[in-house]
């Protein structure tokens, strides 16, 4: 293929991703406008601020005011913002320093802007791992990422919105043999959320696939950049732990404060016994928990196409399984869709489900409908009450 043809192809791909991005933003704001028409009350504090809900408020306040010196919030006095990692608040703070304005507005606009590079990285990733006999795979996978049922989490100012591009970038850079850059991105990722550090075992898996255990363990010449890259991934988490240790005396404060959200380590079967038990839970709560738990089953099913291609996708499988293991022992089903829905390997798994143009069109439409439904549930939180927890 000549340089001119390659450049033309790249331009065409960028135009395609731009089109997908623009369409996805139009859909998001159309759904938001519809939700506002159904329930005008939700826009009383500003239409854009309607997109800044739940954990978004924590991140915005964290960016503005920093970490709490002690637990003080909620009626229990047991909540503090140590549960939220610093990468997103630091980014928000930096952007706000430059542009100023309302914090929530800035955070929402920033997330919309970030989604474009996210899609571009996703497209590059999909191209990297696309089957050689399937030139349209990358475009289909990118469109699917924008129409992914959980894509709303890529637009809300919460750590999920930066977890996706960073996890993609770290593995993409490593796949292209830029291990130190991958380590740097991994360092930021580990400062993004609890499961961010799980990029380290995924990168390690890739390194072992590429170089083998023996070369890595014996520090064979040529593997130094790999080992350094892997070692760098913990910097974000390590720094945050030191900061919390200095602030509260408890380096694991981000884990211990989870009790304020009723999260404590629990074996998965105990979660099932506790949360799906009609003897102790109301029926609507049991139904809700069942739906939440089903997202875990869905995630496991989407791993099947990747497992069939495990020669290539073992790092992605490792990342997904480890995040699922953390989610399955977190003590509650709440947030399960949010935790699992931002794992890009699952989007790739869905992309492999359909291979024909017709099949892909169907998958895309079904996924897009799911995406719009979940967005609507999110925006109509106050109207739906308990069931809004599906999106939380």
């Amino acid at each position: 293929m000549t340089v001119a043809v390659t450049q033309a192809r790249e331009r065409s791909d960028i135009a395609y991703v731009l089109g997908v991005y623009a369409l996805s933003r139009v859909v998001v704001f159309l759904v938001l406008a519809t939700a506002l028409a159904i329930n005008p009350e939700m826009g009383s504090d500003g239409t854009l601020a309607a997109m800044c809900r739940w954990d978004c408020i924590w991140y915005v306040e964290l960016a503005r005011d920093g970490y709490h010196p002690q637990a003080q919030l909620w009626a229990s006095g047991s909540a503090a913002n140590w549960a939220f990692f610093p990468a997103l608040p630091m980014l928000l703070n930096a952007v706000h320093d430059i542009f100023g304005g309302d914090w929530r507005f800035v955070s929402v606009i920033l997330m919309q802007a970030l989604f474009l590079p996210t899609l571009l990285i996703f497209h590059a990733y999909a191209q990297e791992i696309a089957p050689s006999d399937d030139p349209s795979f990358a475009r289909f996978a990118t469109a699917l990422a924008a129409a992914w049922p959980f894509s709303i989490y890529f637009s809300i100012p919460m750590s999920e919105a930066i977890f996706l591009p960073l996890s993609l970038a770290a593995l993409l850079l490593a796949r292209r043999d830029y291990w130190i850059a991958a380590g740097l991105v991994g360092a930021v990722l580990s400062g993004t959320r609890v499961v961010g550090i799980l990029i380290a075992p995924a990168l390690l898996t890739l390194a072992v696939q590429r170089f083998g255990w023996r070369a890595l363990l014996t520090l064979r010449p040529g593997t130094e950049r790999v080992i350094l890259g892997l070692a760098m991934t913990g910097l974000g988490l390590g720094g945050f732990m030191l900061y919390l240790s200095h602030l509260t005396g408890d380096a694991l404060g981000f884990l211990h404060i989870q009790v304020a959200w009723m999260r404590e380590f629990k074996w998965p079967w105990m979660m099932l016994i506790d949360d799906l038990n009609p003897f102790v839970e109301a029926w609507d709560r049991v139904g809700l928990n069942l739906l939440l738990a089903s997202s875990g089953v869905g995630a496991a099913l989407l791993l099947v196409p990747l497992w069939r291609r495990r020669v290539v996708f073992l790092p992605e499988i490792v990342l997904t399984v480890l995040v699922m293991a953390v989610a399955a022992t977190g003590g509650r089903f709440m947030s399960l869709p949010r935790i699992l829905g931002v794992l890009f390997p699952l989007i790739l798994g869905l992309a492999f489900v359909a291979e024909t143009p017709t099949g892909r069109r169907r998958v895309l439409i079904a996924s897009g409908v799911g995406s719009v439904l979940l967005m609507m549930i999110l925006f109509l939180e106050r109207t739906l009450g308990l069931w809004a927890e599906l999106a939380m």
Partner: protein, 230 residues
């Protein structure tokens, strides 16, 4: 890429970049290894902070995560971060308000009813004031518990202090005050002492039926007093 889906006998192609090793390490390689070693040393710092936190569990659960919240009107448990205990004081754990005010009793299951053990284990943290005065003495630990077990069944509460068993309290559907002897040197050594009550039998079946909510038995700790042994 060839995933090998249709040709399982072929060697899969993995290489997408120049992932090669060489025979000789250059200056850059040595520098990267030095940087890795420096990072490994750096990680010992947060690791140490995690393994040996400045605040211990009692402090953390009381003041950081607020699982044992300070009881603002309590005449006891003052001093030493709100967990100070003076020998001879009777502490009443009042179950009439939600968990926030019930203070210092770790009950599992998140029920906001009172300091009872819906789960199988509960704990009290306290700090002995004038610890040096009691170190050489054995103490008497009086625990008032109230049980509401299913008819025909009995709970035995195993009591341990700082991990050492000091006795058991049998109860059925009644209030019992048990007096247990705490050997000399067991309390007052650590900053915070931990008194743990564990239900026995606490086997699989009991745990399961309790967890499933099939029976609504409860064991409450109502009051405790520690005195010097006469």
């Amino acid at each position: 890429l060839d995933y090998g889906l249709n040709s399982p006998c072929e060697t899969p192609v993995l290489e997408t970049g120049p992932s090669t090793t060489t025979n000789r390490r250059g200056v850059a390689g040595w520098l990267m290894l030095a940087a890795t070693a420096a990072l490994a040393l750096f990680y010992l710092w947060p690791l140490k902070a995690a393994l040996f936190p400045d605040v211990d569990e009692a402090y953390r659960r009381t003041f950081i995560t607020r699982e044992f919240n300070a009881y603002p009107t309590s005449p006891v448990f003052e001093g030493k971060n709100g967990l100070g205990y003076t020998l001879g004081t009777r502490v009443v754990l009042n179950a009439e308000k939600p968990r926030l005010i019930l203070s210092r009793y770790d009950w599992r299951g998140w029920e906001d009813v009172g300091p009872y053990m819906a789960g199988m284990k509960g704990r009290v943290f306290l700090h002995m004031e004038n610890a040096s005065a009691i170190l050489g003495r054995s103490l008497r630990l009086s625990l008032g518990v109230e049980c509401n077990m299913p008819r025909g069944s009995r709970a035995s509460l195993i009591v341990d202090v700082n991990g050492t068993k000091v006795g058991t309290i049998p109860c059925r559907r009644d209030a019992v005050t048990a007096h247990l002897i705490v050997p000399a040197g067991l309390m007052g050594v650590k900053t915070y002492d931990q008194i743990t009550l564990t239900r026995d039998p606490a086997g699989f079946w009991e745990r399961l039926v309790t967890r499933l909510g099939l029976r609504y038995d409860a064991v409450s700790l109502k009051h405790l007093t520690i005195t010097g042994r006469p």
